[in-house]
């Protein structure tokens, strides 16, 4: 019997923590490579987010099921094998569904294998919790990651190409902001969102303090 007893209850927070309080992109700053590289349009961002979320949930389930069988010395290697299994599934599925999106995402689909969010979840959550709880948690994280990618993708596509999910918004005369679809645009928009969320947080804090003091 281990001394530390894991809390097996599944609460709303198990699901929600990945979306807001511990958002993988905006709070934990994990998986920055796909965040910056493939968010130049909303469609790419959504596809990347869903692909990662699928791998995250499925591998969390498998890791959690096998958590008592995997020797701790080789656990990272085992996780990688499990994750890459699902990445291969995603890779072929996406190729079958839309060659266009597949080409746009390029190597980043295969690189989901080394996405630190997935490995981090396997290590921190799935290897210590029961399957259902780790799946719920992984689903929240995956959704949080997808939403974060969409936040970037939507801004970059509106400014960079004047469209949203491929539908033109401004008409023929729109002047695209070239920089927004280029790598610097990714950094700028990410920085803008981080600033915004950080500002929301500090504002909430100072408002809460104001209430207790005043």
């Amino acid at each position: 019997m281990s001394l530390i007893k894991q809390d097996d209850r599944i609460t709303v927070d198990t699901f929600l923590e990945g979306i807001w309080r511990e958002n993988p992109v905006f709070v934990m700053m994990l998986g920055m490579c796909p965040v910056l590289a493939v968010t130049n349009s909303a469609v790419n961002a959504l596809a990347m987010g869903l692909a990662t979320a699928f791998v995250l949930v499925a591998s969390s389930l498998l890791v959690s099921l096998f958590r008592n069988l995997i020797p701790s010395e080789v656990r990272i290697a085992t996780y990688i094998v499990i994750i890459s299994t699902f990445v291969t599934i995603v890779d072929y599925t996406m190729q079958a569904l839309s060659q266009e999106v597949y080409n746009a995402l390029g190597a980043f689909i295969q690189l989901i294998v080394v996405n630190c969010i997935i490995l981090g979840r396997a290590e921190a959550c799935a290897s210590r919790n029961k399957p259902l709880k780790s799946m719920v948690n992984a689903a929240g994280m995956g959704l949080g990651f997808t939403l974060a990618l969409l936040c970037l993708g939507v801004v970059r596509e509106i400014l960079g190409s004047g469209s949203l999910f491929g539908l033109p918004l401004f008409g023929e005369q729109f002047q695209p902001w070239v920089v927004m679809v280029l790598p610097p645009g990714g950094f700028l928009v990410l920085g803008g969102w981080l600033l915004f969320f950080e500002w929301l947080k500090t504002r909430k804090q100072s408002l809460a303090e104001g209430v207790t003091h005043g």
Partner: protein
């Protein structure tokens, strides 16, 4: 017998306050003649351009004050300078909404995120210009002729483009107003892409096309001298930049006079004067020691010539200064004076 008073003071004995707002205010004074000449040369489009960028810079500064719960920092004049300088680096017919974007981006990315005045790594005006150069590469290289008739009563058509829309083609309009065969190119791009050189006298006095405030090299020199005389600017920075440009382009000119421009042309064309005098000498982004200033100036001069002659753009002073800004912390570390009595590092 008259009674003599002896006034005793403890240090400091400085009578005139020379704080940041005072110096910045004088920089604004020094810029006003350049703005006036730009308006005289290009008409009301430039006047409105200056107003729009300045308002955009001030508004952004105030917005970030509000966001950070800080008192307003508009009265230190630094954002006003950024706004004016930014307008002077833009083409005269630059769409006003893009100019506002440039002002917002310059202050937000170049200054506010670092913590406001004194903490910025890069010159905010140049960050703004670099942003629109990357975002709207066509609009920022569309030049309109100087001294066209009716410049005080009508706008350049591209100025009043609706926000988020593409500016209209100005070629037809240019044909109507231009006095003679205006090619829509600055002296630098003429030299680089068509091998046409411009008469030196036109360059000194600003009778050429170009960004709003960069054309008259002499006027910028005179305005810069005002700040130097008031000891509000480190004259060594522009001086070393000029040396860097002259030496680099001189060597190139000696190697191949047909391909490369002569040093005099290099010094007096493009935004070099404005950049060297008013942007590279920004106190925040430049090194502290004389030796550091030398390295900084030579680096900027060298890079400017390099980009102008070998890069894909015809003008390079903007990126050169931004790179110089980026190198400043490193230069400052290298050139720290040895403390008296401290031992030399043995190699």
């Amino acid at each position: 017998m008259s009674k003599k008073h002896i006034v005793l003071h403890t240090a400091p004995h400085v009578k005139k306050p020379q704080d940041v707002p005072t110096i910045m205010r004088h920089v604004v004074y020094a810029l006003l003649p350049i703005v006036a000449f730009a308006v005289y040369q290009f008409g009301i489009s430039v006047l409105v351009l200056v107003i729009v960028t300045t308002l955009a810079c001030l508004g952004t500064e105030r917005f970030f004050n509000w966001m950070g719960n800080k008192p307003s920092s508009l009265s230190d004049w630094s954002s006003t300078i950024s706004g004016i300088l930014l307008a002077l680096t833009l083409p005269p017919g630059f769409p006003l909404w893009m100019a506002a974007v440039a002002g917002i981006a310059g202050i937000a990315i170049g200054k506010a995120v670092f913590g406001g005045i004194g903490y910025n790594v890069f010159n905010p005006a140049l960050v703004g210009r670099a942003f629109v150069q990357a975002a709207f590469p066509v609009a920022i290289t569309t030049w309109t002729p100087a001294f066209f008739t009716g410049r005080f009563s009508e706008f350049v058509p591209s100025s009043l483009t609706l926000p988020f829309m593409m500016p209209p083609e100005t070629a037809e309009w240019v044909k109507q107003v231009a006095v003679d065969g205006f090619t829509g190119a600055t002296p630098l791009s003429l030299h680089k892409f068509q091998h046409i050189s411009t008469a030196p006298f036109d360059l000194y006095t600003g009778m050429v096309a170009g960004s709003a405030g960069e054309t008259s090299a002499l006027l910028i020199l005179v305005c810069g001298m005002y700040l130097v005389i008031r000891k509000m600017m480190n004259w060594q920075i522009p001086a070393w930049i000029f040396v860097g440009v002259a030496v680099t382009s001189g060597v190139l000119y000696l190697i191949n006079p047909e391909k490369f421009a002569d040093p005099v042309f290099m010094l007096f064309s493009g935004g070099l004067m404005l950049g060297a005098m008013f942007m590279a000498s920004d106190m925040v982004g430049s090194p502290l020691t004389p030796k550091g200033v030398m390295i900084y100036g030579l680096l900027i001069g060298f890079l400017t010539v390099l980009i102008r002659q070998f890069g894909s753009l015809s003008e390079g002073i903007m990126y050169a200064i931004l790179l110089g800004n980026a190198a400043t912390p490193l230069i400052d570390t290298w050139t720290q004076p040895r403390l008296f009595g401290a031992r030399r590092k043995s190699a």
